[in-house]
Symmetry: C3
Subunit: 399 residues, 3 copies
């Protein structure tokens, strides 16, 4: 049976460390211009239903550096049979005969899981809707390990759009696995989804520390003004005591992970959010941070990460992009079974069950595709609550 990577939860901490050790070796060899020929005669297919430079091209670069070949569909939605209405399952059932490994980016949550159930060759998710982006998480964790020497015990601030940005949804599980302390800094509209928080707690015993803002000095007047703006009415002084804009000291963090507001996933209220988030991480903020705090960003950036810190040695986001090649090389090599390193995938299917229910997430692949069986997993310790087997959205089902 092929090994897939559709969620960071598919990999144990030990497996991730095995991938990282191989990535270290490979990076060393790349720097010494050694030829790495592990994937000679292997073909990778990149099927991208959504735009990407970074992810697609770093996968393709990785495959070529491994001596393999690439067949590429950079705009599958427009230029492939998907334009003729083909289902994802059919596409996968064909493409598995043309390639030895498939990288899939798709706009629906849970699409990678569905693809993996129908493929004879490894499926690696390159991002599925707002759900997960596991190889980005591997790069993020690898960057922490390389730049900070370890992950365990680090204080990591996640800021920006934590609701719609899929990179964060994978990352938090990875951080939890390695024992980092997770802080979130985001306005309510962009807070981490509840089901992610709950799963972090139930499966990893990790509780996220939540804040709305970094430690910027806000006068009482500022706060009242902003609240007026939001609520459209005058507020009393004691409102200032509320948690709404509670700041957190920036010098507390070992790493600040910033994400882009996924404007394409949000309707309306654009300018308000944009201004709220604008230049969240900039020179002024970094002045108050520690000397060895690193700043990460999955890129591309918008206004949430200021260009004025690019030359600061703590800006690690371009390194983070560069590490994408050795990390993906290691992952591909291991999943294709061309190295000594074997990993065990940790997902188990023992708990999945079929309900006579639809997933309630409108962007779930099970909503989009005909003829897909809806499946759920019972959420432990939470009454009547089930998690979609594909997109991880939770649903309360009264028996």
């Amino acid at each position: 049976m092929p090994k897939h990577l559709v969620s960071i939860n598919d990999l144990s901490k030990a497996s991730i460390e095995k991938i990282f050790d191989l990535a270290d070796d490979i990076d060393e060899k790349l720097k010494n211009h050694q030829t790495i020929d592990l994937c000679r005669d292997k073909i990778m297919a990149t099927m991208f239903y959504e735009p990407s430079t970074r992810t697609r091209m770093s996968f393709e670069s990785a495959m070529y550096r491994l001596g393999g070949k690439v067949i590429s569909s950079a705009d599958t939605k427009a230029t492939s049979s998907a334009a003729k209405g083909e289902s994802l399952i059919d596409t996968i059932k064909v493409i598995q005969h043309y390639a030895d490994v498939v990288i899939l980016r798709h706009f629906n949550d849970g699409s990678a899981k569905l693809a993996s159930e129908n493929s004879l060759v490894p499926i690696i998710s390159g991002g599925d809707g707002s759900h997960e982006h596991p190889t980005q998480t591997l790069c993020d964790l690898y960057t922490l390990r390389r730049e900070k020497g370890k992950i365990k015990g680090l204080n990591i601030a996640l800021c920006g759009d934590l609701r719609y940005g899929r990179t964060v949804h994978s990352l938090v599980y990875g951080l939890a696995k390695f024992g980092a302390t997770i802080f979130t800094v985001a306005p309510d509209d962009f807070a981490l989804p509840e089901h992610v928080e709950r799963r972090l707690k139930s499966e990893y015993g990790t509780e996220v520390k939540k804040f709305k803002k970094f430690d910027e000095q806000l006068s009482a007047k500022d706060v009242i003004f902003m609240k007026n703006l939001k609520k459209g009415k005058a507020v009393k002084d004691d409102v200032i005591e509320e948690n709404l804009f509670q700041p957190i000291p920036i010098e507390y963090f070992d790493a600040i992970y910033v994400t882009r507001i996924q404007m394409e996933r949000i309707e309306g209220t654009k300018s308000r959010h944009e201004s709220l988030m604008s230049y969240l991480v900039n020179k002024e903020l970094l002045e108050k941070a520690k000397n060895d705090t690193i700043v990460l960003h999955p890129l591309p950036r918008r206004s949430e990460l200021s260009y004025d810190i690019d030359k600061d040695k703590r800006a690690a986001y371009f390194k983070q992009a560069a590490y994408g090649v050795p990390v993906r090389m290691a992952l591909i090599a291991i999943l294709l079974g061309v190295t000594e390193d074997k990993i065990k995938m940790t997902f188990d299917k023992s708990k999945d069950c079929i309900l006579d229910e639809k997933c309630s997430n409108h962007n779930c692949i099970t909503q989009e595709q005909e003829n897909v069986q809806h499946k759920f997993i019972k959420v432990e310790d939470v009454e009547n609550t089930y998690r979609c087997f594909y997109c991880d959205s939770e649903k309360i089902v009264q028996n």
Copy 2:
């Protein structure tokens, strides 16, 4: 002079068998993970003016499995000089210097023929308008040979859209060459074009057996109801005797070849056709078929082929897609002359003639491109009738 494949009629039965024998060898080697290096230092260009996954990616996979390289234009219409108004001839006259073989998919009927007349390197058609799709036919025939052991004497039902679906227009000639018996099952609006029928008869001596429906049990009431629906009036009982819904016993067939309704080629009346054709081939139908009947489909499918038969061992359409790689590898190797196997192309130009006439097919490449000479071939035994040299449409010319 380079060898091109623009029509299945370019290949004799013997040539096709030579390609299939090589495909058998290659498939064996692929299964044993042997490196095949026949096309080292060769470059293929894939020029796709219409969307495709299957065809483009199977060609590219084939070339890589042969040790060759690929330069790809997956959306030539939008991203190439065609967007600046370049003629197809000019594009070919340039690209022939960049590649050793060109795979062309183009929206105009006859485009592959025109390209082949202007190229120093082999042109392989990946589909031209509603005209032909010869490599799909090679895969279809190869699947029959592999799955049924032979083609000669098989009873083959072709159903779905036989008018606009180009795959069928190539396939019928191939089946005729090999001596299969051809049945068509399609409503009038989607019947095989007359010129195809006529050519089958005159060149191959093959007469197609035509039906409108499989052997579904229709009550007299059903038939009357459907006719009422269609004609908008009451009908007499004797109408039931008419040919309109004459059924054919499904157990008669060795293979059922289903095609997609080419919705993008049809205006209006969409819902009517869709419902008429909906689930043409499904579990109920297959229950009445033979145990060793196989179901083929060039894919992608719509509602004409039900998902509920995917797990039936008679469903051979994903195998059919898989065979695309060894078949195309064999074809490329032979056309590039890198194997011992030589084939002779059967088209002859002796009969082409120039008339002071335009082709009457509005989608013919000669209508679209400036500066292309209209050419025709006299249709034997049919008075005043000429066939377009490029798109094969017939035209009556009064002298």
Copy 3:
């Protein structure tokens, strides 16, 4: 420090000749089917923000013929992070880690220069806006050298759209370097930009000879009619003496270089220009040309170059396209430093200066991208005039 090619002015005459000598060698080897493996283990990225067949595919073919690999973004604007609003600098800072050399085509003038300032790997311009297209110029010059034996002393007519066609903006400097005599034949609206003329004079001491028309016989009546058409009023006879339609004898030229009207860069007045330019170079014109005059065109063509001369042996434009492969192979090999041949880049930064001014060219990359420093170079001998460091547009700045 990496070597980039963003302008033909980056290369001395000696460097260009070194590239051409290597191209000659390579072309010989290609003809003898020798494997050239100079770029084994090297990856090229092609980043195309504008449509292209010729340039992208010839670069990719070149890289494959060198034994290298290619990661390709054929429609970067739509399918990459650019669609998410990523800046060019960010894209380059990422892609430099995935590839060993980057080919960039971008719609903004000066984009290649900006990219080169931010890249650790060689950037080769594949065309930037209306600014330059240096590798096209290398192909043009190489074609002249191959077909005419030399460039020095040739009389070259440049006709068509000399204002918006970027190929000409690079070519004139190349011709000037090699000592050809430059004639321009174009209506006022498509004349060579002033800053190009001025730079030719100041840096190369070359004065362009300007004409509006080839030597077609125009009666006085014709001229008056056309002027009436243009000015909407009657004109006196002495107008005929004016320079407006002064013809130039066609037999004077060793080569005629025709360019396409860049309709996509012009608003309105389309039909007028099209008819004016229509069939500028055709059979009738060539009848009056010398036996060994060659006709060049960067392609794709529109109506400015008639199909009726394609079979004339003087039509050299498809050869010109073919030479693109060996020339680009030589260039890539030299810039990547994988050959003995070393070249020195001639641009010097000594004169650039920062003004508190914006570039006045609305299509300049500095206008489009946030956070780019505007920089200028003082134009020698012209008072108060500065040239944009990126797009070469001139600006008068009152101190």
